[in-house]
């Protein structure tokens, strides 16, 4: 199936970029402000879904050679690992820590381990949502 809708394709090129930026913004603002891995992941996934809608799935799969099933599995693994690591430091499972660092461009920045956990969640959400949409669209 190939759709040739020039307007949709052109608009979605620009919009995907905006959605992705917004998704990453939501993800990063996560642990202190409204946002987080789940919501960020959903927004990022919606960008992927838009691409799959406006282009056909073969083209997108070529440009993005990602197995979304494995992506979600990797996400869970990442989130779990971030929970397990503190166990080796004598802390409770899922304990988080943070610190302030002076980075070259950003200046004084707060870095928190919870971001790793959130990243795992974001990847899981992206993988699962895209996977669901793709498997619905596959069988006609």
């Amino acid at each position: 199936m190939s759709i040739n809708d020039v307007i949709l394709k052109t608009v979605s090129k620009a919009v995907v970029l905006i959605i992705l930026t917004f998704g990453i913004y939501l993800f990063l603002s996560g642990h202190n402000q409204p946002g987080g891995g789940f919501i960020g992941g959903l927004v990022i996934a919606s960008a992927f879904v838009l691409m799959f809608l406006s282009y056909d799935s073969e083209t997108v799969s070529e440009a993005l050679p990602i197995d979304f099933k494995k992506l979600s599995a990797f996400g869970v693994l990442l989130a779990m690992t971030s929970g397990v690591v503190p166990m080796f430091f004598g802390e409770a499972f899922l304990s988080q820590s943070f610190g302030y660092f002076d980075l070259p461009i950003f200046g004084k920045t707060e870095l928190a381990t919870v971001t790793i956990f959130e990243a795992g969640i974001a990847l899981t959400v992206v993988g699962v949502v895209v996977n669901i949409i793709l498997s619905i669209s596959e069988d006609e």
Partner: protein, 495 residues
């Protein structure tokens, strides 16, 4: 904080399950890894059981957030006994899968899903937070949806649609009940809820909320609201239905025990009477179902329902002896139901039909299978040296002491129905004229009976070694009957 070990019965299956997704194409390796993971989980829970017996209830506050603010796992003897049993049963079911399952099924994420199911079950047993209980339920249910539909037969799909819709409705009810409870007492930490309910007294509003919980868990456990159960438990592949029969309803029953012994125990004349009535009706309905069908898988499924009614009769009576009996029966039933479903599944594989009329004289060709079935039958009916006996005796004794003669009669009559329904299978399928000659019989795949034999040994072992189990069950019953112990362990002195 050495309590981190508490999260492992849930964490280990999840991590291993996720790793197995990357090993999708290697069926046998997956089987061995998942088997090892569950065996290790069983080992860990054994250690936990031992530790709790020595030092009392253990809890783990995730991320160091102290209760009532954070989410936590609480391990008392009751929960850990169930975690231990379910891990052992899952290990044995996985070994059956290793031997008998088709390659096709193995590479379709079968093993990861079983591990996620085990994680959900263990998590539900261990959690000390009602919303977390909901999440663990969902982990378990989502895995069960996948397992139910794996294998693409038309019947499975039909039953799966029913199963999924009924569970989505009941999960929604669960959420509504949680919202009501949170709106009323302002917390979802089980111990904290229990404390507050005890402080304000169980007002009519709270009793109503408890009845919403009762409906939700009854749907999951198959207490009276079991109309969905026989179909969905009898359609999936052998291993899946064994896991379902052994574990899924037990989680609902566990939730009922926990909620109605820890939180809503102040109005037993309403709630516990209602549970008693429902248990009685479940016993009647299950018994009628068990003798009404000619399909051996349906008979096995109705036996699950009878057991649910039986355990909740114990909760309805709620004396120390009854609770102890129910805990023994819990452990026994996980083992015996897995065994029953595995044996029934093996019989169907061998004879190619699930109708009793299509089988006859299996005993001549497969004597070991026949005698395993015989022992299962005796164990489920509650014949003395086997594991079903002690639970039945204790519950029956408690029923006499508390004057619940109707429940007593129903419980005992239902045991006769269990015996009759299985005896019918035994007589029709194993005895009688052997239809298939020695040359034409399907060879029993080598080792297929080993997992069943392991379960047979377990049911005999539990029956004979009841003395060894007794102190743990006594502690579990004591904790269930005195909510103060649980509340103190969670909210008491914070180090």
């Amino acid at each position: 904080m050495m309590n981190n070990i508490l999260v492992l019965p849930m964490l280990l299956p999840i991590i291993i399950g996720v790793v197995l997704i990357f090993l999708r194409t290697y069926g046998r390796i997956q089987a061995w890894i998942s088997l090892t993971a569950m065996a290790v989980t069983a080992g860990i829970s054994f250690y936990l059981l031992y530790a709790i017996q020595a030092d009392g209830i253990i809890r783990l506050d995730f991320g160091g957030w102290e209760p009532p603010f954070g989410i936590l796992f609480v391990a008392d003897s009751f929960a850990v006994l169930l975690v231990l049993t379910s891990s052992i049963v899952t290990t044995i079911c996985l070994s059956y899968a290793l031997i008998s399952t088709s390659k096709e099924l193995q590479t379709m994420y079968f093993y990861p899903t079983v591990l996620f199911l085990a994680a959900g079950v263990n998590g539900s047993f261990l959690t000390g937070d009602l919303f977390n209980l909901f999440v663990c339920f969902e982990v378990m249910l989502l895995s069960s949806y996948v397992l139910l539909t794996l294998g693409n037969s038309k019947r499975q799909l039909r039953e799966a649609i029913k199963y999924v819709s009924i569970n989505i409705v009941s999960s929604w009810f669960f959420l509504v009940a949680l919202a009501f409870l949170y709106g009323t007492v302002g917390t979802l930490n089980m111990a904290h809820v229990a404390e507050r309910v005890a402080e304000v007294g169980q007002t009519p509003l709270l009793t109503t909320i408890s009845i919403v919980f009762l409906v939700v868990f009854s749907l999951k456990a198959g207490l009276l609201l079991y109309f969905w159960l026989p179909g969905s438990y009898s359609s999936p592949p052998v291993v899946t239905s064994a896991l379902f029969g052994a574990l899924l309803t037990k989680v609902g029953v566990y939730a009922l025990f926990r909620v109605f012994s820890l939180i809503f125990y102040h109005q037993p004349e309403i709630t516990h009477t209602l549970i008693g009535v429902m248990a009685g009706l479940t016993l009647i309905g299950g018994s009628l179902g068990a003798i009404a069908f000619n399909d051996i898988r349906s008979i096995a499924a109705y036996n699950v329902i009878i057991a649910v009614g039986f355990m909740l009769a114990g909760l309805a009576i709620s004396t120390p002896a009854a609770i102890e009996g129910a805990i023994y029966y819990f452990i026994h039933d996980m083992v015996a139901k897995a065994l029953l479903f595995l044996l029934v599944g093996t019989m169907i594989t061998l004879s190619g039909t699930s109708k009793m009329a299509g089988m006859s004289g299996l005993m001549k060709n497969y004597p070991l299978l026949g005698w395993s079935f015989f022992i299962t039958m005796l164990s489920l009916a509650g014949i003395p040296p086997l594991s079903g006996f002690i639970g039945k005796v204790l519950i029956a004794g408690a029923a006499i002491d508390s004057g619940s003669y109707l429940l007593l009669a129903l419980a005992l009559i239902s045991s006769i129905f269990v015996l009759y329904s299985l005896l019918r299978i035994f007589k029709n399928c194993f005895w009688g004229e052997t239809i298939v000659s020695k040359e034409e019989q399907l060879p029993l795949r080598r080792g297929v009976l080993l997992p069943c034999l392991a379960l047979v040994l377990l049911t005999i072992g539990i029956g004979l070694g009841i003395e060894g189990l007794a102190p743990y069950v006594a502690t579990a019953a004591e904790t269930l009957l005195d909510p103060g112990i649980y509340i103190d362990a969670v909210l008491g002195i914070i180090e």
